[in-house]
Symmetry: C2
């Protein structure tokens, strides 16, 4: 395995043992960036020397990190994927960026985002096939990790912007429970939805970074044993591709063979409206969160963004309030389900990354979980016949991220072995 494809956890162990320097690893990552960036276009701005010179002390000292270009940064411009913010310099770091830096991470630049983390795509291509989308909105972060440019990266999810691109790019994605990581300095879209998440090459690295950002103990300690898995053939199962459903069934079978309890589950009726409610909440809040841009710079916004936020500005506020009430009821109802199972196993997306760079795929399999605020992870699960990655999604109980990550780590080991 090439050095740039190693995990941060491996690098930390090797440097601890004196067999590797952090500088050598950083150079391997920077070389990979130089080699792959012309095709992948993961970076909105990039300067290798900045990362070389920024080396700071800390447990993750010198490890390069990709930061989605909706996070404010003191040194790099923060463009938000919009011509409106080209060259914008907020003058300070977003909280998550400051915490990553305080642990020693270095930023070689910023990674491409769709326009304001909505649907209008940037130039990034899938690292496994440049004719296919990397997914979005955290396109550059997912692609950078998938291409071996950095061991981990920051993203955000408002509909499906961490879990889906992680699946498309063949990496681990982790969207913690809503409110686990500070959103300060992150361009807001939906204040009830926006969640800071991470991309990594494996779950140990994802948990390592998320611990730094949240302060919470997330890395599995000891062996939790085989989990109870609820196989959820989502409401939108019919739109899942054959390779996707086959990957899910195979994972369920492997888990069962390794000792997990696997039972098919349905969601409580209280969850029926979540898909449509997420769309409404996103439009309603987006229209208001982007009030400055809509008021002062309407001509600089893309047609899809204007369409969504215009609809949100006109939406019935009573419907929005009802959606909030239904969401809390659904979250409560799901609590009973998570007394029976440790995690749900369900698709992260309808299939592998669609062809074309003019769209980032459909967040149909993500909307409900984001609205609920439940923690989710993407686990890589092989490839389809064309060689594009497939992923699995595991969903955990609200504020029960450690249990989700322990179960996901167990399944990661089973699928690897």
């Amino acid at each position: 395995m090439e050095l740039a494809d190693r995990t941060a956890t491996w690098v930390l162990a090797e440097t601890e043992a004196g067999r590797l320097t952090r500088g050598d690893y950083l150079e391997a990552c920077l070389s990979r960036i130089a080699a792959r960036e012309p095709e992948v276009k993961a970076w909105a701005c990039l300067e290798a020397d900045v990362a070389r010179k920024a080396a700071a002390p800390g447990p993750l000292s010198g490890l390069p990190i990709g930061v989605k270009d909706v996070f404010d940064t003191a040194d790099w411009p923060t463009g938000c994927g919009s011509p409106l913010y080209a060259g914008h310099r907020p003058g300070h770091d977003a909280a998550a960026v400051a915490l990553a830096r305080a642990a020693g991470c270095v930023l070689p630049g910023k990674t491409v985002t769709t326009e304001f983390a909505y649907f209008y795509p940037g130039p990034t291509a899938n690292p496994h096939n440049p004719a296919h989308t990397p997914g979005g909105s955290s396109s550059g972060s997912a692609a950078a990790v998938g291409a071996g440019m950095v061991p981990f990266a920051l993203g955000t999810q408002t509909a499906g912007s961490v879990i889906r691109p992680a699946a498309f790019c063949g990496v681990v994605g982790y969207k913690p429970t809503f409110g686990t990581i500070s959103t300060f300095g992150v361009k807001q879209f939906g204040w009830s939805l926006d969640t800071v998440g991470v991309f990594a090459r494996d779950l140990a690295d994802a948990a390592l970074l998320a611990e730094v950002l949240s302060g919470l103990p997330l890395r599995p300690r000891g062996d939790a044993g085989a989990p109870r898995i609820g196989l959820y053939r989502a409401a939108r199962w019919s739109v899942a591709s054959d390779p996707m459903t086959a990957a899910l069934e195979a994972a369920a079978a492997a888990a069962r063979a390794a000792g997990a309890q696997v039972a098919e589950v349905e969601l409580p009726e209280a969850c029926d409206a979540l898909f449509d409610d997420q769309k409404l909440v996103m439009a309603y809040e987006g229209a208001r969160a982007l009030a400055h841009e809509r008021r002062c710079h309407r001509d600089a916004l893309s047609a899809p963004l204007l369409e969504l936020t215009d609809a949100g500005a006109q939406a019935d506020p009573g419907d929005y309030l009802q959606a909030r009430v239904r969401t809390r009821a659904a979250r409560t109802a799901l609590g009973a389900l998570f007394a029976e199972v440790d995690v749900l196993l369900t698709p992260p997306a309808a299939g592998a990354a669609p062809r074309g760079l003019n769209a980032t795929g459909d967040p149909a399999f993500n909307r409900a979980w984001t609205l609920l605020g439940q923690p989710c992870v993407t686990l890589p699960a092989g490839r389809d016949s064309s060689g594009l990655p497939l992923g699995l999604q595991l969903v955990g109980g609200f504020d029960d991220d450690a249990r989700l990550l322990a179960a996901a780590t167990w399944l990661e080991r089973v699928l690897a072995g």
Copy 2:
């Protein structure tokens, strides 16, 4: 009554009827600012001509608004009450500011905040007695409305920063349900706590402004009739002053005499830990939300802020997670109480504004409601023997702001008559 002391609702009706121009009202406000500002010091920055020239169309066209200096503004510096951000120009408006401007409001400047909306005070004095605090952290917004400088103002509440200063300054304060108004462009302290709220001279004005910011229908339509009031002698009742408890008892008696059902209530046991849990959540999240300042500019932070955030950085993450879980359980348990009563009546603070400008008073009567996210209003309720204002607090059900405002409007009328 002088023109500057009129409500926005009155001004809108008079201008609609052709008996007044918005320009005349604005000049009255600007004259009041000129007369009172040397003593009250409500403004962090101020330039009357900017408000004169900014007049924009909209339902609130030309009405001046006070904006706490933790909201980003495109035209004014955003200093956050810290030398670190002196002269800082974010280049865009916070969402709430953009929405107020889109409705026609004009900003004569920015109002004083404590340091990062925590406890270290600015220079603002209470408009009713300059030897007393206006409360905080939204000190300037509350004082500006209390002094008749502007009809309404924006603030934020993380512990008690809207409800308490409103009471101290003799104005209406309204902290909506958590997540009702976008926090984009507001300096973050506790992402589970920070709530944008408003100050006004009466409830109609507060609801008018909050409708513009939230899109929700909040102004009482028709007469809801006498409400069911739960009189809550808070857990910290023993620290309430005699004038405070007398004002509360008098309001309860007046409400009862006017036909309201008034019953003493206790909070469910699930609420017992909320006071301490709010302190923990605020410290834990503050340490992370202010990660950039703590990492890069530690020497420029006040001792109280360092003490709190250092404690938060060291706090047990398991305790923080448990506080989150307990808070959700308490919110659910309170739902049953709000099936029995429309609102709770309870003190907004221990008494009138304390003497001295080196502290902003104690948020003991606010912490639990902020952590729960319940909507709260402050209603003015006369003065103590020294002439300082007293207030009442009404607390409503989560996402049931319209019912709270209807009940509060009923009580406002009863107390006025």
